[in-house]
Subunit: 337 residues, 2 copies
DNA sequence: GTTAGCACTTTTGTGTTCAGAGTGCTAACT
DNA sequence: AGTTAGCACTCTGAACACAAAAGTGCTAAC
């Protein structure tokens, strides 16, 4: 593919991304100051179409990028500095917010990404099983509320509260602290299984009623730790793709299926940024969309994966540029902590 | 208004609520086994229209309830036991879930309400200023993470984490516990103002760097405590009212304005259940919708307010029945705790 | 290799027509 | 009195035709 073809393909995609309308030869000449006539451009467009990079919606319509076209664009033509000074500043202030829980940081990154790109973003934290329990602490609130706090090596802090019908003594709290730390510290953050439960129950001399709810709640925490969150689902409704309400509803339904989202975010291979365009998505429901995911981290601490879901006609340059920038900034700013 | 008119008005509303189409005289006769001919019904409809309870979309169309019609329906015709056995059971299992934080209970109620009614629900917790701090506790996690836990009389438990660059001693934690409890216990949950901040700073002998972030985070918690949450925003897209995407977008935007939502939920007067139909809403943005709010509580503990936002063509009977049932069940089941 | 020019294709918007759904009213019936 | 059958009238919405607009592809000339 020669330079002129690349230039034209890029122009078609840029134009289509911003207008969502099939792109005509004359529009290209006018807006992208190509030094050729529309007739020449038309010839090139015809060839690009023959090689599969472009499509037409009907015989006499303008051109629309094909998935192959987008793929070529993402692989070869993308700019990864498509981010303005204002955007950088905005990201910086957002990330500077005094947050102390690692989950909050991830959430802020997800929100910011959605705000800047205007696409829907989803995120999951690091897999619970990959995190190591560093400390588990029992704290008595009043005399009948027990708080359980679990701290993991990746900086995750999760807590829950159990209410009892009887007073809990400081003594009991000590015992619990000792027992649970002895058994769980250094282990991966996963549910307490039957054998472990039996062991703990056997070990404790006093009432089962105290222990049972603790185990129940710890298991709930673990489950919750793998939770996904979602930002800017409504943003997608501004897209002309969704002028059919049918499609919009489908989209919302996809987002609602947590399992599906988990799979998608998990499927990202080792690469830092993964782009799935239309049919490249494994899931049938996403064949009409594009998904971009990236793993982020602070130093060597995994922060989980963030994904963007948008139309195939996504602004890949901007999305990837912003992702890279956020990723870099998170890593830099918080490394010392 | 005589009985027959009431019966017909009720039939028109019930039919319109389920079909969203203007209701014709013949449809009424057929589906609501009225023992009159369509001509008679037409006469009644004409009178109901003259008195303002019904509208027409054009001269020869069927009838549509007016806001006055809905208001009459809500005030006079509503059934408050419009809830099935299955629904009761579903609510019961949901509420039986082992949750221990009062906020989670409110969240479950909100979600369940949305699931059963298929409308969008929003909720706010009790106003922070109305809650009294019962205990404030500092917990050291590892050696450089400090967790602050605040417990209020209404059962709210809020916590946050502060990370330091230097080790914190158990001694310091004790001092903090004593100082903050001495100053804040029994006070309403509100931001720490300047004088109080100065006082605390003066009182503490060691580094300001330890205290500053604590105050910062406590204030953040307080702010967050008044937060609203939202459930089932996407459900509304199934409504035929939203066949115009324009309206759908507006609706989403309304939901996005947290301030607005807060106002609406706050404005509920002392009554247990408040219904605002169309123009009865203070906010311009909600003139096309109806809002139903209710305060809920466990025993004498305020749990905050839940609201339902839906089309004026809302199933008021069902919504109110379900609200009442949930409210009753929450109160019953958790009273002992 | 490039481009002006034009025939050809398809979409989109507009006006028109026509059937269908409902009402309102009149006149007859109980 | 109240009820109802019957019919004229109104409005909507779907179907169709037609014209204008937007583009392309191709040819022939530069």
């Amino acid at each position: 593919m020669d330079d002129r073809k690349k230039k034209i393909l890029q122009a078609v995609i840029d134009e289509y991304v911003s207008s969502a309308e099939p792109v005509s030869s004359s529009a290209l000449v006018e807006k992208y100051n190509l030094n050729y006539s529309s007739a020449t451009v038309r010839n090139e467009l015809a060839e690009l179409e023959k090689s599969g990079y472009l499509d037409k919606t009907h015989t006499s319509s303008g051109r629309v990028p094909s998935e192959k076209g987008y793929r070529f664009y993402v692989d070869e033509l993308i700019k990864d500095d498509d981010i303005s000074l204002e955007e950088m500043k905005y990201i910086q202030t957002k990330l500077d917010a005094k947050v102390n829980e690692i989950e909050d940081l991830a959430k802020i990154a997800t929100t910011t990404l959605s705000e800047i790109t205007h696409y829907t973003t989803v995120a999951i934290g690091p897999k619970p099983e990959k995190q190591i329990i560093e400390e588990i602490k029992f704290v008595l609130l009043g005399s009948r509320m027990l708080m359980v706090v679990i701290v993991t090596d990746s900086g995750l802090v999760k807590e829950t509260i159990i209410k009892y019908d009887e007073d809990i003594t400081q003594n009991q709290v000590e015992t619990l602290n000792n027992l649970f730390n002895a058994k769980l510290k250094g282990k991966p953050l996963s549910k307490i299984d039957k054998p472990m439960e039996e062991y703990i129950l056997a070990e404790i001399t006093y009432s089962v009623d105290v222990i049972k709810p603790i185990i129940e709640q710890i298991n709930r925490i673990v489950e919750e730790a793998g939770t996904i969150y979602l930002e800017g689902a409504n943003k997608s409704f501004d897209l002309p793709e969704f002028k059919s309400l049918e499609l919009a509803k489908n989209f919302v339904n996809v987002l609602d299926e947590k399992e599906l989202m988990l799979d998608i975010l998990d499927s990202g291979v080792a690469k830092d940024i993964n782009v799935y365009i239309g049919d490249e998505n494994d899931k049938e429901e996403l064949k009409d969309f594009s998904v971009v995911t990236f793993k982020h981290s602070v130093g060597d601490k995994d922060l989980g994966t963030i994904g963007i879901i948008g139309p195939k006609r996504m602004n890949y340059s901007k999305v990837i540029s912003v992702m890279k920038y956020i990723s870099k900034k998170i890593n830099e700013s918080k490394k010392g902590e």
